[in-house]
């Protein structure tokens, strides 16, 4: 039988770090401009797909880049940086290609309906919003917000994976990597869904009024990820 208390006491730092990683993921989702189905028809600002898919894409890219970095170094700073950059590139490319489609394919100017002036470029927004829509494309503020969100999500995903990979155990390395990766994916998906229920469909970025709801998702993620962290640390540490 596994010495549960002993494993938890020896790895309590990693329980905390996994929880922190989950909370980062949950918070990061609020930065990513998600437009869902309306944005796919250029009737809302953001990327035309759901929160969960985007968060999962960014987080899993962060996980892959962090895993690649873990092959060559043990430095937590480098691994987190690799995860962060990987996820930022993924979200950045997604938004750029999305904007190309909106501008040159659909023929709409990127414009936000939530603010009259772009908080970053100070460009006027409201006169460019087509009638009957909630804005369209990805204006500068949403793009910058998305990059920040991708970065935070990548750090979160990398932190969860790094913490799981740091737990002492007696498994063969192939088994260990597989188990740590699938735990990271499981924890990541839970933390991608919770904020999407908080947001409820669409969000433009940090200038969107819905952004203020983030503490609710973070509190929920904190509790849920803490439970998942204890469960996964016991599993990996006990083998």
């Amino acid at each position: 039988m596994i010495d549960i208390a002993g494993v938890l006491a020896a790895n309590f730092l990693y329980v905390i770090l996994i929880t922190l990683g989950g909370v980062l993921v949950s918070g990061s989702v609020h930065f990513v401009p998600v437009g869902g189905a309306p944005a796919a028809m250029a009737q809302a600002t953001g990327i035309g797909t759901g929160t969960v898919q985007l968060a999962a894409g960014a987080g899993l890219t962060g996980l892959v880049t962090a895993g690649a970095m873990l092959n060559v170094t043990d430095s937590i700073a480098l691994i987190l940086a690799a995860g962060m950059v990987g996820a930022m590139i993924m979200i950045g490319v997604t938004m750029m290609v999305g904007n190309l489609v909106y501008v040159y394919g659909v023929g709409v100017p990127p414009a936000s309906a939530k603010v009259d002036y772009d908080p970053i470029t100070k460009d006027r927004q409201d006169i460019y919003v087509s009638q009957g829509t909630e804005g369209h494309g990805l204006p500068t503020v949403s793009f910058v917000s998305g990059i920040i969100g991708g970065g935070l999500g990548g750090i979160g995903g990398a932190l969860v994976y790094y913490s799981l990979m740091s737990i002492a155990n007696g498994m063969a390395s192939a088994d260990f990597i597989g188990l740590a990766a699938i735990f990271a994916v499981g924890i990541f998906f839970v933390n991608a869904v919770i904020p999407s229920y908080n947001i409820g469909g669409t969000i433009e970025g940090f200038h969107d009024p819905k952004f203020k709801k983030w503490p609710k998702a973070v509190v929920t993620s904190l509790i849920v990820t803490f439970m998942c962290a204890i469960v996964s640390v016991i599993t990996i540490g006990g083998l």
Partner: protein
Amino acid sequence: MSAGGSGGGAAEAIPQNKLIAFGAAGGLIAIYLSYFMVQLAGPAFSFIGALGAICAIVWGAAAVRRVANYGLGTGVPSIGMLSLGMGIVAAMFGLAVGGIAGPVVAFVTAMIIGLVIGILANRVIGMGIPIMEQSTTEIAGAGTLAIIGLSTAMTGTFMFDVILTEIVATGYIALIFIVAGIAILHPFNANLGPDEKQDRTLSTGFEKGAIAMVMAGIVSAVSAGASAAPTIVIGLAIWYVSFSQYWNYVLRDAYDVVGTGLLPKEEEESE
């Protein structure tokens, strides 16, 4: 965006309690039966694990249908991914610490995590769905049983040392994750709308479960403890029966759809 649906409770012919019994008891019994039959009579009986997974998938699809009918505010797929996210954590934990009691430990762990998520979703996030707590509990349990059932069908056992080397280290766990996830979230997502009917949605659940079973059968071809042929053949048979049934339901529900023709000429010209 919105999940569609009426924003109220879903009409149902089969009460949810029967489906809970079908999924939970059927799933657990089939997983244990598969394990003991493989021990006693040989790897040909590994297919029973996949039957357990189908029971769990149908139960999960019914629970998704009930909760997503209220309108989750985001797509239906999110709750399927939530189910498998919780399920994978609980399944690995339960199998690792539980030994022979593994599936039960995993099932209970999943339902505890699911219940906490449901309570937080209503109390903290404020989703205001009256059956949220019950549904996330059910969905987490169904996801876990689907994962364990398919793993058992692939390897012939749910002992963690075998699962670890043959399912997790090889990456088949990712296949199980996505196939079981889609099987749970897709039935309602495919049938939602004002004419959604419980039997048609659940027949899609059976059909998607059968596809997952066939895939488990293909994977089990490389496992010493499981036999591929029975799983694939029985999976295909279930797929054929359930898809025919689904087709019948589609014809039944669609017989009075009439064409409205193109837009009137004047309206086209007035633009």
